[in-house]
């Protein structure tokens, strides 16, 4: 694949950055929960899916956009707290692989509940469709959503950095992510830290739901499933154990996916998932600890 076949223009680049930003938020949502619970949440995409259905539900009834977004946040937050209470809590202390299988089951469960409830055809969420229109900046057409997504993601990440760096609960979360038991011994309240992580991760899922429904207004039961698989790969690629590498990994895979998807001709872009996952496997083999981790930060395999 030579560079000559790539036809990168500014629009593709902006879309790729927008997609990378959305994936970065999903990576943070997955990474935060992993940090405190050592749990890879395969069902994260179904939180996004639920939010997307909430938006579509409001849009079909012609409710104002703000009500739709409020409904989306409400549904996603309730669902993520329920998921923590019913599934994550009993699984605490299990190995990451067991928890991954369990959340895999939850993902399929939620997806088929959506199928039962809303049918396979999907619903249209159209209330934010104006964001799909392009704006012209010095002769280049860029879709508004690409800009909104990038700005919103940057704002969310900034807030999160402030929360983690400047507040007490942020400090507790970082301590818990580093060594949960020692943190507990030193007076960090486990329930509160986990609750906060789950809550923030849910908030991010709701933000992602709003932005993804703008990009793909047709909400089906497998909404965000493919994105979650890619983000999970990105998170492991970047380095699961730290939040910043995980976020970078998520951004990288979204950016690469958006860029190659927009730039490759169709007869090659149909093999895009193969390229991406081959790259992921290659990185995992060369740097099992993650692409964006420094030497010495890599997870030591404990036996």
């Amino acid at each position: 694949m030579s560079v000559a076949v790539l036809s990168i223009n500014w629009q593709t680049l902006a879309d790729a950055i927008g997609l990378g930003a959305i994936y970065a938020l999903m990576a943070v949502g997955i990474g935060l929960v992993f940090g405190v619970l050592r749990l890879v949440n395969f069902a994260y995409g179904q939180l996004v899916m639920a939010g997307a259905y909430a938006l579509a539900f409001a849009s079909e009834r012609g409710w104002p956009v703000s009500v739709g977004i409020a409904l989306c946040f409400g549904v996603v937050l309730v669902l993520s707290l329920l998921m923590d209470r019913i599934v994550f809590r009993p699984l605490r202390g299990q190995s990451p692989a067991v928890m991954l299988v369990a959340t895999f089951a939850v993902a399929f469960l939620l997806q088929s509940i959506a199928l039962l409830w809303f049918g396979p055809l999907g619903k249209i969420s159209a209330s934010l469709a104006t964001l799909n229109q392009p704006v012209t900046i010095s002769g280049v057409d860029i879709r508004k959503i690409a800009i909104v997504a990038t700005v919103l993601a940057a704002a969310c990440l900034l807030l999160l950095v402030l929360l983690l760096g400047r507040t007490r609960v942020g400090l507790h979360m970082r301590a818990a992510a580093m060594d949960f038991r020692t943190a507990q011994l030193l007076g960090v309240r486990a329930g509160r830290v986990i609750g906060t992580a789950v809550l923030i991760s849910g908030l991010l899922a709701a933000v992602v739901a709003v932005m993804l429904t703008v990009q793909t207004p047709l909400v089906t039961p497998d909404f965000a499933l493919r994105d979650t698989i890619l983000v999970l790969a990105g998170v492991v690629l970047g380095g699961m154990n730290r939040l910043v590498p995980a976020t970078l990994g998520g951004f990288a895979i979204g950016f690469a996916s958006g860029l190659l998807g927009g730039a490759l001709p169709t007869n090659q872009s149909q093999y895009l998932p193969s390229f991406l996952f081959a790259a992921v496997i290659l990185v995992l083999l060369i740097r099992p600890g993650g692409l964006f981790t420094r030497e010495g930060q890599q997870a030591v395999e404990r036996v």
């Binding site: 009993p90 190995s95 895999f104 088929s112 199928l115 036996v303």
Partner: protein, 343 residues
């Protein structure tokens, strides 16, 4: 008693397969299809067990071996006259030859093993989450390539016109064969070394066991069995890329986990139990009568129930229905160690 246990460990799963086959002979033709499907599921789940159960390493990628097995057997056993209509862009090597049923199954096993070897050589270095994601990547790549590469198969089309040779006899013999191979492996030196690495990798290394090599051997063997099961599958139903992808991965993993991942008995029990529930619900989705009541469940109920079952089993009884134990004439507590996936 020690001499009785190994015999029981082989005979019990075989008897269960035989029982399922027997049920298949007395029910209606429509129900028989479900029984045959359940037996093919047994073959797939036991293939999964050979690697996941004995090594404790998670793999989301085994359905790709089922897929390549189905592709190999399907492409080559379809009559030459039918090929151009379904696979117009097929490479000429495959276009002009057709092989018989048994040969196509053997070929499916060989192709599955070869693919598992190619994948396993690099991937068996990984463990834990890395292995989970990487094997998922293998599934995605396989699905993607089979879907669009029309030189080696039907692409987006369905494998219709493959001889439907997987009847009750072939399915039960196939499932029994897979069970016997899995049992022989488990009792062999290799199987024991691999379970040692699952129980305590450090101790196994310390006595000179190569974790990498033992995992690779199991991976290739389970790839061969999965490929063979894929061959059975393509001779049963018109398979396409979607039928050997995420849903089947989920369903077979659920069967393994629900039955109890660390035992052959658990794999067979899980496959048959979940298949039974699944078939019943599939029928109920089309409308059936239970005790004189008309039951008509909406489409999609199956996955809801199976997903809920899997989550409940993982939460309440992580070692599975059988407790992850082989059948024994002594009563034993379920494995105290939670489903022995590595930390």
């Amino acid at each position: 008693m020690r001499r009785v246990d190994p015999v029981l460990q082989l005979l019990a799963p075989i008897a269960l397969v035989g029982l399922a086959a027997l049920v298949g002979t007395i029910v209606s033709i429509a129900t028989q299809t479900y029984v045959i499907n359940a037996l093919v599921n047994v073959a797939i789940v036991v293939a999964l067990y050979v690697f996941i159960g004995n090594s404790g390493v998670l793999s989301f990628g085994h359905i790709s071996f089922v897929a390549v097995g189905a592709w190999a057997a399907g492409v080559l056993s379809m009559p030459v006259a039918e090929k151009p209509a379904i696979m117009p862009n097929l490479a000429s090597v495959f276009r002009d030859h057709t092989i018989g049923n048994v040969w196509s199954l053997a070929l499916a096993a060989v192709v599955g093993a070869a693919f598992a070897l190619v994948v396993g050589l690099p991937l068996m270095r990984l463990s834990g989450l890395g292995a989970g994601i990487a094997t998922f990547g293998v599934l995605e790549i396989t699905h993607n390539v089979l879907r669009y590469w029309e030189k080696i198969g039907p692409g987006l089309n369905t494998f219709s016109a493959v001889p439907e040779t997987t009847g009750l006899l072939q399915a039960s013999l196939g499932a029994a064969l897979v069970v016997v191979v899995a049992f022989a492996y488990k009792r062999s030196r290799f199987g024991r070394l691999l379970s040692a690495t699952r129980e305590d990798a450090a101790a196994a290394r310390a006595v000179g066991v190569s974790v990498y090599r033992q995992r690779l051997i199991a991976f290739v063997l389970s790839g061969a069995l999965a490929g063979f099961a894929g061959g059975l599958y393509v001779h049963l139903l018109p398979v396409n890329t979607e039928s050997v992808y995420l849903d089947l991965t989920f369903l077979t993993l659920a069967m393994l986990v629900i039955g109890g991942a660390t035992s052959l008995w658990g794999a067979v029990v899980g496959a048959l139990a979940v298949s039974a529930v699944d078939s019943f619900l599939a029928e109920a989705e089309n409308g059936i009568h239970v005790l004189g009541q008309a039951v008509n469940l909406p489409a999609g109920t199956r996955i809801v129930v199976v997903g809920a079952l899997m989550a409940i089993v993982l939460i309440l009884r992580p070692a599975g229905l059988t407790g992850g134990r082989e059948l024994s004439i002594r009563r034993r507590r379920p494995l105290r160690v939670l489903t022995k996936f590595e930390k």
